[in-house]
């Protein structure tokens, strides 16, 4: 019969504070971002800005990532991301976060954008960090952590480690998104995806979605504004449901009509089913070398993770 004896560690108050801060970091990041946003907008006395930031807003910078051929860059960074996702140990996952931070630094992107990405995934990470330490299945010989003042809430160390590992890997991938997508124009990035073998129709759909998302957003905002100035206040009643349905229906019809007009505009400029590409690019030795370095980093992390899995003390 397997013994279910456990080891209990009672943290000192200072250790407890640090531990809780680590555990709640994603939640704090999320709340901090929201608070900052509200503060800025409150100072400017404007309504909340729901505008969608352009994915390639930093495409015209200069860094090792900006001058990297998109197809090779995307391919190798995606490969690196998958290798990092395959890591098991917390230590090497934390090392991967460090590598991603260095990558963002090298890409010379304002930190606000990667932080926004981290804030976007922080909700999910916070959920893991709050739930897994309490719910992970009991294992023989496992360690229970007791935080001062929260002794009534024993935390399972395996759950904590698992949640932190997942969070680190999520943060790494979120951070790598910026060097991957923000350092080339969207058209070149999508051309890169085409070179990697993604279907052309899918690429065209992404391209048009990215462009018309902004147009539909503006149309929806104008319609909402028109409703507001005629006294509409959304409530939980049938009238609100009907009005919302009407406006959504109208938006849908107008979107459909626009789709037809855009297609006509494309046809009238010689569109025959595929977007004409700029002259085909070929990777240079430098591009390939950068790609190899990225993949090697991933492989190295994975090998070290498997050979030297640093255990929680």
């Amino acid at each position: 019969m397997t013994s279910l004896a456990t080891r209990t560690i009672v943290l000192t108050p200072s250790q407890g504070v640090v531990f809780l801060l680590c555990l709640l970091a994603p939640l704090l990041l999320l709340l901090g971002c929201r608070w900052r946003r509200r503060k800025i907008l409150g100072r400017m006395s404007t309504p909340l800005d729901w505008s969608i930031p352009a994915i390639d807003a930093q495409a015209h910078g200069s860094s090792v990532f900006h001058c990297w051929m998109p197809a090779v860059k995307i391919g190798s960074l995606l490969c690196l991301s998958f290798l990092i996702v395959a890591l098991h140990s917390l230590f090497w996952s934390m090392v991967s976060v460090l590598i991603a931070l260095i990558a963002v630094h090298l890409a010379r992107i304002p930190w606000q954008r990667p932080l926004q990405r981290l804030a976007a995934v922080s909700g999910l990470c916070a959920l893991f960090l709050l739930v897994l330490p309490l719910t992970s299945p009991p294992r023989p010989g496992e360690t229970i952590l007791l935080v001062p003042l929260l002794e009534w809430l024993p935390l399972r160390l395996t759950g904590v480690v698992l949640a932190l590992t997942i969070s680190c890997k999520a943060a790494t991938v979120a951070l790598l998104m910026e060097p991957m997508f923000a350092t080339s124009e969207l058209s070149r990035t999508l051309q890169g995806f085409t070179n990697l073998g993604l279907p052309g129709t899918l690429i065209q759909m992404i391209l048009l979605c990215h462009r018309y998302l902004f147009v539909f957003q503006q149309e929806a905002a104008r319609m909402q504004r028109a409703m507001r100035v005629r006294g509409f206040v959304p409530r939980t009643n049938l009238a609100t449901l009907r009005t919302t349905g009407n406006s959504l229906g109208m938006l849908f019809i107008r979107s459909f009509e626009r789709t037809e007009r855009v297609y006509e505009a494309m046809l009238s400029r010689g569109y025959r089913g595929t977007f004409p590409a700029a002259a085909k690019q070929f990777p240079t030795a430098k591009d390939v070398a950068k790609g190899l370095v990225a993949v090697l980093i991933g492989v190295l992390l994975l090998v070290l993770d498997r050979l030297y899995p640093v255990q929680w003390p």
């Binding site: 006395s45 015209h60 462009r211 028109a226 006294g231 006509e264 010689g270 700029a278």
Partner: protein
């Protein structure tokens, strides 16, 4: 009346249309028995009321629609099959809404789309793109996405996407809709320089005046007249018959005023010196709304309006003019409380407190530039009743208000019509009715005449002249300003640079030039 073809000389036609008929899938007739020749080098205006078939006709010329009955020939070959993709590379077509044209992530890609489809080498594409963007004055914005451009810039960018293809035929659908006169002048210059065959759909006959030599008038899907352009202008009966009579614009000139005003505060809310025109008039009364030192910045920090001092009084009609991007619409949104800036906002002489903002819509109504955005209900009755329903009025009162508002805008009996299926002019009037049913004390109209044919403009003018409430008219249309407004406010880069009697505004040639308003009558 039957078509009277213009003498063609010995030129062979570029397009030859014979008994061309087109019916939309829902059964709506688009074209009926069109017979028309278009010659190489023609500069042709295609005019007629909204819904007369102009857009349907030009879609045949570009191969977007093919002949259902009859024939459409290009250089004596039927415009079908393999010829269509070839034609599209030679015939450029500018649609009304520039957002339809700009579907790529950057302006450069958009302009390069056509030349690349034409099979040009990449260095040649680059040259064509840069030349075209320079021609329309947007060369510095080639890396920008379309949603970062102003409306006027988008319109010019859309033209650049066509010009880069060096088309033999250029077809434009309402190129000047919603543009200020400065942007219009850019278009006019570019079209003057264009040497190929030019076909323009446009309601603004004054814009077409020295651009086109030929005018084809369409009505109910038929060619009714085929004139020399100047002959059309000199035929008031034909103009009136087809809703093109813009001569009402020349009637009733000099109806307003002489005299200058100055900036001032109507209500003393803070200490002021008398310098800089900040005087308090003695007998001006209490304005319905007054802004004092009011400024607003967008969330990205871009200043929109700056230090605005403005009072709106009961019953007066004010024109708000300025170049595209001057901040006119933003100011209107501030007056509605949609944007909240810094400064003093007084209603009936009292500063607005926090709880008052949401109720501002009861006193100020707005008709937006794109009236389609304002219409979201399945019938006209519901559209007009929407506002009163939000007020919680009784069904009897709602019915009363709806019928009254529809009558004021000359849409009696339209209760069950679907707004989406109505013409541009009717939609605009419906949007006004939807606002009037709230019985506002101030009505703001943002570019009310944009994209309307002359007949609809005339109807709109009659409606606006009959309205009793205070109005703020945001427009580039000097005729409407002259006819309707007693006072004109000039906005430039977010600042009010003049607030004076309309007569003084018309006498101020320099200022009209600054604001690109100097070439409309």
């Amino acid at each position: 009346m039957a078509a009277q073809p213009m003498p063609a000389g010995d030129r062979p036609p570029l397009y030859s249309l014979r008994h061309l008929t087109y019916t939309y899938p829902d059964g709506t007739p688009g074209l009926r028995e069109i017979t028309l020749d278009i010659f190489a080098g023609d500069r042709m205006a295609l005019v007629g009321r909204n819904g007369s078939g102009k857009s349907t006709l030009i879609r045949h010329l570009n191969g977007l629609f093919t002949a259902q009955t009859g024939e459409c020939r290009y250089q004596d070959q039927p415009l079908i099959g393999a010829l269509i993709p070839e034609i599209r590379l030679r015939v450029g077509m500018l649609f009304q809404d520039p957002d339809d044209h700009l579907f790529c992530p950057t302006l450069y890609e958009d302009v390069a789309f056509g030349p690349r489809n034409q099979g040009h080498r990449e260095d040649e594409v680059d040259r064509l793109v840069r030349d075209s963007l320079t021609m329309v004055g947007l060369d510095s914005l080639c890396g920008k996405p379309a949603h970062h451009l102003s409306y006027g810039q988008k319109k010019r960018a859309a033209l650049a996407t066509i010009l880069a293809m060096k088309p033999h035929v250029l077809i434009l659908d309402e190129p000047t809709a919603n543009l200020d006169s400065r942007q219009e002048a850019v278009f006019k210059r570019l079209l003057h320089e264009y040497t190929g065959t030019l076909i323009i759909i446009e309601h603004n006959l004054l814009f077409l005046h020295d651009l086109c030599e030929r005018a084809v008038v369409l009505a109910d899907g038929r060619v009714y007249h085929d004139y020399a352009f100047n002959d059309l202008l000199s035929n008031p009966q034909a103009l009136r018959e087809h809703g093109l009579d813009f001569t009402f614009r020349f009637a009733g000139r000099n109806r307003h005023y002489i005299g200058a005003g100055h900036h001032h505060h109507y209500l003393p809310t803070h200490d002021h010196g008398t310098e800089g025109g900040h005087l308090t008039p003695k007998d001006s009364g209490v304005p319905l709304i007054e802004l004092q030192h009011y400024s607003f910045c967008y969330s990205d920090g871009t200043p929109a309006i700056n230090d605005i001092n403005l009072g709106l009084f009961a019953g007066e009609t004010i024109a708000l003019v300025g170049e595209n991007g001057a901040g006119k619409s933003t100011l209107a949104h501030c007056l509605l409380g949609l944007h909240r800036g810094k400064g003093t906002f007084l209603v009936d002489g009292r500063p607005l407190v926090k709880g008052d903002w949401p109720l501002l819509w009861r006193r100020v109504g707005i008709v937006f530039q794109y009236s389609a955005d304002q219409l979201f209900c399945p019938s006209c009755w519901e559209e007009v009743a929407f506002g009163p329903q939000q007020l919680g009025l009784s069904p009897r009162e709602i019915e009363l208000r709806v019928q009254k508002a529809l009558a004021v805008v000359q849409l009696e009996g339209f209760d069950k019509r679907v707004p989406l299926h109505m013409s541009g002019g009717e939609r605009k009037r419906l949007a006004i009715a939807a606002t009037l049913s709230l019985q506002p004390e101030i009505l703001i109209l943002d570019e009310p005449t944009a994209s309307l044919d002359p007949k609809s403009e005339e109807q709109l003018l009659a409606v606006l002249e009959a309205l009793p409430m205070a109005m703020l008219l945001i427009t580039h249309d000097l005729f409407f300003i002259r006819r309707l407004c007693s006072r004109t406010i000039v906005l430039h880069q977010g600042l009010i640079i003049r607030d004076y009697k309309t007569g003084a505004f018309f006498a101020d040639n320099q200022l009209r030039t600054i604001n690109g308003l100097d070439n409309i009558n």
